[in-house]
Symmetry: C2
C-alpha cells in the first residue's frame, strides 16, 4: 500500500497528520459506501436559519459583488446546472481566465477543506476569497464590498434582520450568509443513494459492476465517505493526495498534470508538491471537463488517467465503461429553489463603468 | 405641439407612419393612464404553453448559448433584479463592452418593437440577435448554436416535447421559446397600478403630484400607454422619437447624447438620425444608469435632462422630486419563479476553452 499523507490545515501551515486510514483500506477489505446525509455539518458559530439562507442566496447570485457587476458566485458555481461552469478554467471580470477549474458547490458543505488546494478551512473562509481576487470578482477590498452593499437599503435591512443590530453588515457576516446558503446545496437521492438505502433496482447492472470495480481497482481508497471525497475529518483538515502519484505515463505531459504544484503553491514546501484535496465523485458525470486544470474533456478519459496515474493500472474499455456507469449513478437531485429577488437601490446604480 | 414621427418597421426599411396621435395629446388634454394588463399580446404563431415557457426559461438562463459559456440572456437582462444589469453598457464574452445600455426585459412584451433602435419587430426577432453578436454572446452561427444544443439530450427532448417531431430543435424555435418565457416577465401591481384600479392610498401624495406634473409638463406625450412607452401600435411599428430634440443645452455634450445616431445607424437615412424607440417608465427607479449610452447615473438627473432636451423646460428641484416620486410608484412586482435546472450532457462538456 502506497504511503498516504493527510495534512491538517487547522492552524495555519499544513502539517502531516496522524489520522489513521483504517477505514479506508482497500485490496480485499470491503468499504462501507455511504448514502448522502440529508444535512451537512453546521458550524456552531453559524447556525442555519431561513432568513440567513435567503440572504446568502441573494448574495450568491448578486453580480454586484464583482467590481464591474458582471460576475457572481453563481457565474462559476452555477447551481442551475451542476454547481460549476463546465469550462476548463473559469472566466472572471474583464475576461480574465483563472488558473484552475471551478469545483462544484454542490455538497461542498461535506468537505473538510475548500479550494483545490484546501487552503480554506470552511465554506465561510472560501466565500471571502473570490470576491477579492483580482482575476475573479475583482473587488479591491472588504471595505469596498461593504460600501457598495451599504448603498442598497434592502441588504442593510436584511443583514440587520439576520445578524441583529446596526453593525450587522460585515464581511464576516456576508461570508456566513453565503456559507449558510451553500449548506442547502445538497444533491440527495442519486441512484446510488437509493440503491444504498435498499432499492436494489435503482442502479442498472452495469453501475453495480462499476461500484464493485472501484473498490477492487482501488479508487475508493481515496474516494470514500458519503461525498466520495475522503473520510470525515475535522473542519480544516483536508484530505490530500498526491496527483499524479505515478509520473511515468503518457497522460502527465498530454494533460499537463504537473504544471500546477497544488498545495505547494500555497505553502512553498517541497513535500506539498502536487498534493491536492481529493475531489468529490458526486455529480461528476455533469462536471466535465476534469481535473484541477480542466484538461480532460470526458469522464471515461478521466477514469483512465486516474487509474494509471494513481494506481498504475491500465483499465480495459469494459472496466472504464462500468466505472463510468457507476459514477453516472452518483448524479443526485438539484434542490428546487425559487429565484432570489436582489434588493436594489432606487434611482441609481451601485456599479460604475469599471 | 412639436412635430412627431412614427416609423413603421413592419416591412423592412422604416417609413413615416400616419398613425394619429389623437390619444396622446397634452397641454390641457387629460391623458388616460393605464394600469398594466395581466397579459401581454401573444402572436398567433407562437402560442404560450407551460412547457414552452419552461424551455424558454432554461435557454434564457443558459450561458452555453455563448461561445465560451459565460454569458446568458440573463447576464445582461437579469430577471433577479430589474431585467437589466445596472451597468452603463453591458459586458459580453471576452470582456467586450457593448455600445448601448441593456434595456430591461420586464414588460418588453408590451413594446411594439425591440432594441433601442427598434430594429427587431418582435421578442422572437430580438432573441436571435445577441447570441450571434460577436461582442455579446459570440456564437459564430445559428448552426453552431444548434450543434451545441443537439449534444444535450435534455434539450433535444424538450424541444421535441414543445414543438413536436424530430426537427423541433431549430433556431426559430429557440427564439420562440425564449420569447414565450419573456412574455411571462410582467411586473404588475405597482403602487400606480393599484392607485389606478381604485386604491387611492397606494401612491403617496408626492407621487400623485408627480403624476399630474408629467402630464402638465408634457412627458406623457410620448411616455403613454400601459407601459409608458408610447401608444399601442401594430407589432413592428415602433414608437420613435428624436432624442435629443433640443440640442442647445449643456447636457448634450456632458452626456454625449449625439455620439450614437440611433435608428440612423440601422437605416443610414438622414431623417432617422437620433431617432430612438421610446423606452418604458416601468421599474425605471431600478434601471439606472439611464439613456441608450447609460451616461446618466441618477433618475433625478435623467428627469432634468429629458425635460430640457425634449421639452425645453428647466424644472425646479421640487418638480423633479415630485416626478421622481411618481416614477418610483411605477415599480411593480417581479414575478415569483423557480430556478430552472439546465439540462446537461453526461460525461462531457459542450463548452471548450474559447
Amino acid at each position: 500500500m502506497k504511503k498516504k499523507r493527510m495534512f491538517s490545515r487547522m492552524s495555519g501551515a499544513p502539517v502531516i497528520g496522524a489520522v489513521a486510514l483504517a477505514a479506508v483500506g482497500w485490496g480485499g477489505q470491503a468499504l462501507a459506501m455511504e448514502a448522502l446525509p440529508d444535512q451537512p455539518p453546521v458550524p456552531a458559530d453559524n447556525p442555519m436559519s431561513t432568513a440567513k439562507v435567503e440572504l446568502g442566496k441573494m448574495l450568491y447570485f448578486d453580480p454586484r459583488l464583482s467590481i464591474d457587476g458582471t460576475v457572481s458566485c453563481n457565474s462559476c458555481h452555477n447551481v442551475m446546472t451542476n454547481g460549476t461552469d463546465n469550462r476548463p478554467v473559469s472566466v472572471g471580470v474583464k475576461g480574465q481566465k483563472g488558473g484552475r477549474s471551478a469545483p462544484t458547490v454542490f455538497n461542498a458543505a461535506f468537505l473538510s477543506a475548500q479550494f483545490w488546494d484546501g487552503r480554506a478551512a470552511t465554506l465561510e473562509d472560501q466565500a471571502k476569497g473570490p470576491i477579492l481576487n483580482p482575476i475573479e470578482m475583482g473587488m479591491p477590498s472588504e471595505a469596498a464590498v461593504l460600501e457598495r452593499l451599504n448603498k442598497i437599503p434592502g441588504y442593510v435591512a436584511k443583514f440587520s434582520e439576520v445578524f441583529g443590530g446596526d453593525k450587522a453588515l460585515t464581511y464576516d457576516n456576508l461570508a456566513k450568509a453565503i456559507a449558510a446558503y451553500e449548506r442547502t446545496l445538497i444533491t440527495p437521492n442519486s441512484p446510488f443513494d437509493r440503491y444504498q438505502r435498499g432499492d436494489k433496482k435503482a442502479m442498472p447492472e452495469q453501475a453495480v459492476r462499476g461500484m464493485k470495480l472501484v473498490e477492487k481497482v482501488g479508487c475508493t481508497a481515496c474516494h470514500t465517505g458519503p461525498n466520495f471525497a475522503g473520510p470525515a475529518l475535522p473542519t480544516g483538515q483536508g484530505f490530500f493526495q498526491k496527483f499524479p502519484a505515478n509520473v511515468d505515463n503518457e497522460y502527465v505531459e498530454k494533460y499537463d498534470l504537473m504544471g500546477d504544484t497544488g498545495l505547494h503553491s500555497v505553502t512553498g514546501k517541497e513535500e506539498d508538491k502536487h498534493m491536492w484535496r481529493v475531489p468529490t465523485w458526486r455529480n461528476v458525470a455533469l462536471t466535465a471537463p476534469y481535473f484541477h486544470n480542466g484538461s480532460v474533456k470526458t469522464l471515461d478519459e478521466a477514469v483512465r488517467v486516474m487509474a494509471k496515474t494513481q494506481l498504475n493500472k491500465t483499465l480495459s474499455n469494459k472496466e472504464v465503461e462500468d466505472i463510468v456507469a457507476f459514477l453516472n449513478a452518483l448524479t443526485g437531485e438539484i434542490p428546487p429553489q425559487t429565484l432570489p429577488v436582489l434588493p436594489q437601490p432606487v434611482n441609481m446604480s451601485v456599479v460604475g463603468d469599471q
